[in-house]
């Protein structure tokens, strides 16, 4: 009995109520407990990656009820990586929030840990309805976090986010009901086993069920044309929360991949074509819309959210190829972009709080600690755009490399490269407006066309004051050191990821591990 599998869910599940009841009036205690738990999650994540690295698929039968009747947690390489990624991101956000965001409203850390619980659960569970529950869990926490700190537009965006996602939940349940009515099961492995045996008379229903689930997962992953909730949400959420959210879209991606690789794409299965031929076009569209948004953005956080959208597009292009190689490349890029985008949001927050008046917009305004912050922003942009030698460049390179075997590679290469170019343009403009032109705003500067002539220079605001940078720097430093690890040791990472995708493309192992756990659940 390997209790490791339950820990990433249980730990936050215990910490969250503790924080809510015991230490809700003392922020210091809350910070101590919360960071301890978050760090614990990192350790657990490492242990999981280590455990899973032997290629064995482990299961955990909750309540000792065997699958497919009870709920099982399944630990394979993919889930392990995702849990570790979540923990790392959580650490970064945790460190950053301690700089003050956690005091802007109540119960920040409780919600934070409920969210982590939901995300980890979604990564680990092997049961479709349980997946739904964990989705709702992370959603409800995200609703709370989204409006943390308040503000008119934030609440409107929050309402849109919640309504759209509630519709999503309804769709999810529809899909579940349909699938249950046809296959009579809720367990993923069991479902995967039965989907190939669905009689012709039921296949249409099956198809509807499966496509509804795909829709929901794409909705979470913000795949065009289901992405509408994303830009407003990310750009209006509190920046640390937005940073945390960058894992939530990945939950959707994960679910999509898990679901398709496990059940839909079986050799000769009747549903192997379902949706897969639509994924790549939509992903390309996502990438295009995203990079267009980057150039079109009118504020820093908007730009960040659109660059996040674009990265989703890139990831899903590589996943949509459904070859082990391309999905491994996609995973690598996912690890990178999750952290890179999150960091960008934190950087932006550092800039925003120092620019009273200009705030989130592009209006050039000199602000304290400008040199340091512009250096940080430059590096952050470098990572996010994926310029050499950043891990993003390596990721894109591998994706291009993995695409070359496909028939439509010229179009895909073109899209990806042009998109990076447009992103580059967007960030070059932002940088020169927010960091360079603002340094001129203090000096007298003849108004220069080409740099968005709509905004005139505001008078330097005296209320802008230097703020502590130690904690934020640590948080960002952690994220970057992870990215640099990715960048310096891509070889080992890739070999792990390639093993991961091999596991994904051998669904029979998953199925037999879950349904015939001959000692598979033992260590």
């Amino acid at each position: 009995m390997n209790h490791l599998l339950i820990l990433p869910i249980l730990l936050p599940a215990v910490i969250a109520p503790l924080l809510a009841m015991a230490v809700r009036n003392d922020i210091v205690l809350a910070r101590v407990f919360s960071s301890a738990a978050t760090f614990g999650l990192v350790i657990i994540g490492c242990m999981m990656v280590w455990t899973a690295s032997d290629g064995q698929i482990r299961i955990y039968e909750l309540g000792a009820w065997k699958a497919p009747y009870g709920i099982v947690l399944v630990l394979d390489r993919l889930s392990a990586i995702m849990v570790l990624l979540t923990a790392c991101l959580a650490t970064v956000v945790q460190l950053y929030s301690m700089a003050g965001w956690d005091t802007r409203g109540n119960h920040f850390y409780s919600l934070f840990h409920v969210l982590l619980m939901g995300v980890n659960g979604a990564f680990l569970t092997g049961d479709l309805f349980n997946l739904f529950v964990f989705f709702e869990l992370l959603l409800i926490a995200s609703y709370g976090l989204m409006v943390h700190g308040g503000g008119p537009t934030r609440f409107k965006a929050g309402l849109q986010y919640i309504s759209i996602n509630l519709v999503g939940s309804v769709i999810f349940l529809m899909g579940l009901g349909t699938i249950y009515s046809v296959t009579g099961t809720l367990n993923m492995a069991h479902f995967a086993e039965r989907i190939s045996q669905v009689p012709e008379s039921d296949q249409a229903l099956m198809a509807v069920g499966a496509s509804l689930l795909l829709v929901v997962f794409s909705l979470k992953a913000a795949l065009v044309p289901l992405h509408f909730w994303m830009p407003a949400t990310y750009s209006n959420a509190p920046p640390p929360v937005a940073a945390l959210f960058s894992i939530m879209s990945k939950v959707g991606v994960y679910a999509m991949i898990r679901f398709s690789d496990l059940s839909l794409l079986q050799q000769g299965g009747p549903f192997s074509a379902l949706g897969t031929q639509l994924l790549v076009p939509c992903a390309v569209l996502t990438l295009i819309i995203g990079s267009i948004g980057v150039l079109a953005a009118r504020s820093l956080s908007q730009q960040a959210s659109f660059v996040g959208l674009a990265s989703i597009g890139t990831i899903l292009i590589s996943f949509g190829m459904f070859t082990p190689e391309s999905q491994a490349a996609g995973l690598y890029y996912m690890l990178h972009s999750t952290l890179a985008v999150a960091t960008l949001f934190l950087l932006i927050d550092l800039v925003i709080v120092r620019r009273p008046g200009a705030g989130d917009g592009f209006d050039p305004q000199p602000f304290p600690q400008q040199g340091y912050l512009s250096a940080l922003f430059f590096v952050g942009a470098l990572f996010v755009i994926g310029l050499p030698p950043s891990s993003g460049f390596l990721g894109k390179l591998q994706i291009l490399h993995s695409l070359r075997s496909t028939s439509e590679w010229p179009m895909l290469w073109g899209t990806i490269l042009v998109a990076s170019f447009v992103t580059l343009l967007g960030f070059a403009q932002t940088g020169s407006l927010v960091f360079w032109k603002s340094s001129a705003a203090s000096k007298t500067d003849p108004h220069s066309p080409g740099e968005n002539p709509h905004n005139e220079l505001p008078v330097p605001d005296s209320s802008a004051k230097a703020l502590p940078l130690a904690m934020p720097s640590v948080a960002i430093g952690v994220a970057w050191s992870l990215l640099i690890l990715l960048m310096v040791f891509p070889g080992p990472v890739m070999s792990y990821l390639e093993a991961t995708t091999e596991q994904l493309f051998d669904p029979q192992r998953y199925i037999s591990a879950v349904l015939k756990p001959a000692g598979a659940s033992e260590l």
Binding site: H3, A141, A296, S439
Partner: protein, 961 residues
């Protein structure tokens, strides 16, 4: 090993000056210089191996082998020559910049950027892996972006930087695609191997694509027409940067790559006509424009463009000798052009202006500078006995016998014209600045600069003269071995000397010098014609393009994300329906043969009621109170509906949830407007209505299809029915599933509820305490409210109800495991009773009676539930493993309590119970607190308004208007 160090030293060393600046400018410069010098020395250690023993040292470390990206460096003739130029001139530039930069400039950053650039540049020329080369390539674009924008307060600097980044960065991406393709065709990423696979590459179907993409990269980088426009704009950079990046090194990266890939890409077809023609054109245009520049740096910029074109053209000729000429001219141009830029910098620095119109006669004021300029410009003009002359002769020689489309006049003529103009602008530079009478209207008082500024160019000038005088000694072997490296073959038999006899080249350069002199004298005349000429301003076009692009993107992006939730939801639902529908149609299906269930009259009545009230809601949802009542009816009857389909727990839960929900929504309506005006346009309504009907048909149809078919494969349900009693210890299968089989779901579910409670609390706290409190207080209720806030009757009834409700709750709770009921329903019943107290006697009084915190209830509940699970783990069973037993308590007062289920599931259910009460009460209590603030009634500490025992005037809670 130390090959990599040549690159890594400047790269890692770049941090040094940024730090050392803290201990002064000299420390900063010193550190940078040392780094550069070490790298230079390291490089020179390879000279013998390469030039004398003709070996090529290599190193290779694996990095990302799966895609062929490895850290592979090699030093061959070509790389060595370029690296020498980069590091050698770099050294001079570092020293020069020390005196050039003013104390106001952030010198630390400057040297940091400069070293990064240097590292990237050396990386390009030494890397033996195409992808590695690409990485360094993009890195040069980035560092030049930083360097051009170094004076970020100047708009010109910012725009120049952005333009350079856009052009070279964009070209870089094309190049990336190109080299990836190339490597794929050649089936290796190692350059030294690619160079040996000419046939493989030239015979592949992708060759044209590869060539075009790579040329795009090279031409953008080396400012070839029509991408030349960024280079003059880049002159906004500090002069050391212009001298280093934009004449000596970075712009030569494109040429380097052309030379590097020369062996595999060159042919007399596509290659010749693209490369040679573009080169020729660039050379001509550059020379002509240069003549009419008044800004010294502008003149030099265009002359650089023209010379780059010259070299490109030579490489395009695709003959070994031409290649040799190209190599030679690369060296020469680097020497005299860098010297000239530094010279222009000196003039600017000393005289305070770079404007040719305002300059003149400086020869007498600053002789040293004048002599530097004299030699450098004459070399640029190609006058003997300077190195510029030699390579130019070679170029003319090659051009004189090269046919273009079979015409043998085209190239010689055009080349000569270009030469004429280059002589002209060289003369204009020298005579315009230094000759003529002395002027005294300079911003500063010009005199020869400090040594730091003049001896770096002087060193270069010495080279210019020396090479010019004894090329056979100084340059010949170098040029030969480099050429050998370029063509990957034994070098052509060339002899560099001043006098080859009376060749066509001599004639051409004679014409050039003569014509140049005339043109230079006629500059004023030509100038008028030139100014009349309509010329496109690259900057305007570029800005227009970028601005247009941005605007276009904004139009699209704002069009797509217009912030309208209605449209978002419409699109999302439409997408869902169409995707699902499309898949439904593309798969086979058949009607199921399951016998239908009978229809009973009450059922029909209920159906009619439900449907009717639904329609009622839809028709006048504007009138929110009525709509809410109708909604309640729907909820009520649908819960009765559950009874029909044998879901008794469902019915109970639905009813209790319904009650609480309605209370909640009533409280909400208390704040929100009770009515809303119809605002959607009609076609809008029709559109939504249409979608709604489609969705309804779809969902109804699906459920019909599901209900009417037999199970095609056996459902997991039978297992639960079989094991509920034996395994779960309960006869209410649904409840057993909830608390045992799928207890984990329930655990998640109560966490959701608890989390909702907390989130709601947090949100309302923002209203209760936050800056919004005033807004809440100033809020006006839009309906008149009864003065009798706490009707005595209600108070009495609810008091009586409370204990009964709690008793009922316990009953429901206890029987839950075997009969319909359970912790959740019990909790809702109890909380409803509690809410009644709040309603009846008001918030404050009720809150005073509450002895515990609802937060605690939530947390405690979840923890209890978790604890039951962890208890199992302690016994080394999986989380949430249950044990159960029956317990028959002794009769008490003759009452038989029956069989009481004692199962761990019950403890779990207790957790559910607590959490639910906590969440519901926390939310509603906080809500009612908000209400108090909103109507700022004086809070009553008594159970009711008029206490019947002591007769005092009723304290009405109505707001004093």
């Amino acid at each position: 090993m130390n090959i990599a160090l040549i690159v890594l030293l400047p790269l890692l060393g770049s941090i040094l000056p940024a730090l050392m600046i803290r201990s002064g400018r000299n420390a900063c410069v010193a550190s940078a210089t040392v780094v550069n010098f070490l790298a230079f020395a390291l490089l020179l250690t390879h000279v013998p191996a390469v030039f004398f023993y003709h070996t090529t040292p290599k190193i290779s470390w694996p990095w990302l082998a799966s895609i062929g990206l490895n850290i592979e460096f090699w030093v061959d003739g070509l790389g060595l020559m370029f690296a020498t130029l980069i590091l050698g001139i770099g050294l001079l530039i570092l020293i020069y910049a020390r005196s050039y930069l003013s104390s106001a400039d952030p010198m630390g950053n400057f040297y940091c950027y400069l070293l990064i650039f240097q590292a990237a540049m050396v990386g390009i020329v030494l890397s033996d892996n195409v992808i590695l080369l690409m990485m360094f390539w993009e890195l040069t674009s980035l560092s030049s972006f930083l360097l051009i924008g170094f004076w970020s307060h100047l708009p010109a600097g910012r725009q120049g930087a952005r333009m350079a980044l856009a052009v070279t960065g964009g070209g870089g991406l094309a190049l990336l695609a190109g080299v990836l393709l190339l490597a794929q065709v050649a089936d290796t990423y190692r350059i030294s191997e690619i160079l040996t696979r000419r046939d493989l590459i030239q015979n592949s179907e992708w060759f044209p694509t590869i060539l075009v993409l790579i040329l795009l990269g090279c031409f953008t980088k080396s400012a070839q027409f029509p991408f030349h426009f960024w280079l003059p704009r880049a002159m906004a950079a500090p002069t050391p940067v212009s001298a280093y990046l934009h004449s000596a090194t970075m712009v030569k990266a494109g040429l380097f790559l052309l030379a590097r890939l020369w062996p595999v890409l060159q042919n007399d077809g596509l290659w010749f006509y693209s490369v040679a023609s573009i080169g020729l054109l660039t050379m001509l245009i550059g020379a002509v424009i240069a003549l009419f520049q008044d800004d010294l740096k502008g003149l030099l910029a265009y002359s650089t463009i023209s010379h780059l074109g010259l070299i490109t053209m030579l490489l395009g000729f695709a003959t070994p000798v031409a290649a040799a000429a190209a190599v030679f001219h690369i060296i020469n141009h680097a020497t005299f052009k860098a010297a000239l830029f530094m010279n222009a910098g000196i003039v600017d620095h000393e005289a305070g202006t770079r404007d040719l119109k305002r300059l003149g006669g400086l020869m007498w004021l600053m002789p040293v500078t004048g002599i530097i300029a004299l030699i450098a410009t004459f070399s640029m003009a190609g006058l003997p006995p300077l190195n510029g002359y030699l390579s130019k002769e070679m170029m003319l020689e090659e051009a004189s016998h090269t046919k273009w489309m079979g015409l043998k006049e085209v190239i010689p003529t055009l080349v000569t014209i270009a030469a004429v103009f280059s002589v002209a602008y060289s003369f204009r530079y020298f005579f315009g600045v230094f000759a003529g009478r002395v002027r005294h209207d300079y911003p500063h008082h010009p005199h020869d600069p400090p040594a730091g500024l003049w001896w770096p160019p002087t060193l270069l000038i010495m080279l210019v003269v020396a090479i010019g005088l004894r090329p056979d000694l100084l340059a010949e072997s170098l040029v030969k071995s480099v050429t050998a490296a370029v063509i990957q073959d034994s070098p052509p038999d060339i002899h560099l000397k001043l006098w080859h006899g009376w060749t066509p080249a001599v004639t051409m350069s004679g014409i050039a010098v003569g014509g140049g002199l005339i043109v230079c004298l006629l500059t004023f005349v030509l100038r008028m014609a030139w100014d009349k000429l309509p010329r496109p301003d690259a900057k305007v076009i570029f800005d227009a393009v970028v601005h247009g692009l941005t605007r276009g993107c904004q139009l699209i992006s704002d069009g797509v994300h217009n912030g309208s939730q209605q449209r978002y939801l419409f699109l999302i639902i439409t997408a869902t329906l169409s995707f699902a529908g499309w898949n439904f149609l593309s798969y086979p299906w058949a009607h199921g043969g399951r016998p239908l269930q009978p229809i009973s009259t009450p059922l029909v009545v209920g159906w009619i009621l439900v449907v009717a009230s639904t329609i009622l809601v839809v028709l006048n949802y504007h009138n929110r109170l009525y709509a809410l009542v109708a909604l309640g009816v729907v909820g009520l009857f649908s819960s009765i509906g559950f009874v029909y389909v044998s879901g008794i727990d469902l019915a109970l839960t639905q009813v209790s949830v319904e009650v609480v929900t309605i209370i909640l929504m009533l409280l909400t309506l208390f704040f929100l407007p009770k009515h809303s005006q119809p605002e959607s346009r009609n076609w809008h309504r029709c559109r939504d209505g249409g979608l709604a009907i489609v969705a309804g048909l779809g969902m109804g149809g699906m459920s019909w299809l599901m209900m009417t078919r037999q199970w095609s494969m056996e459902s997991i349900q039978s297992y639960f029915l079989a094991n509920a009693k034996s395994g779960g210890g309960g006869t209410n299968v649904v409840n057993v599933i909830l608390v045992d089989f799928r207890g984990f779901d329930t655990f998640g579910e109560i966490t959701v509820l608890g989390c909702a409670g907390l989130a709601i609390f947090a949100m309302l706290e923002g209203l209760v305490r936050g800056k919004l409190r005033q807004r809440v207080q100033s809020w006006e209720p839009d309906v008149t409210r009864t003065a009798d806030r706490h009707p005595i009757l209600m108070v009495v009834v609810t008091r009586v109800m409370l204990p009964m409700a709690i008793l009922v709750g316990m009953f429901i709770f206890l029987r839950g495991h075997n009969l319909p009921g359970g912790g959740f329903i019990a909790a809702l019943v109890v909380s409803v009773a509690l809410i009644m107290q709040y309603m009846a006697s008001g918030f404050a009084w009720a809150a005073n009676q509450v002895r515990f915190k609802y937060h605690g209830l939530i947390g405690g509940g979840i923890l209890v539930a978790a604890a039951t699970g962890v208890g199992a783990m302690v016994a080394d069973r999986p989380f949430l493993t249950s044990w159960h037993d029956h317990w028959h308590p002794p009769k008490f007062l003759g009452i038989d309590f029956g069989d009481i289920e004692a199962a761990s599931a019950m403890a779990f259910d207790l957790g559910v119970f607590l959490t639910v009460i906590g969440a519901v009460m926390l939310a509603l209590a906080q809500y009612s607190k908000l209400g108090i603030i909103a109507v700022d009634a004086q809070v009553n500490a008594n159970p009711m308004d008029c206490d019947p025992l002591n007769h005092q005037s009723p304290s009405t809670g109505a707001k004093p208007h």
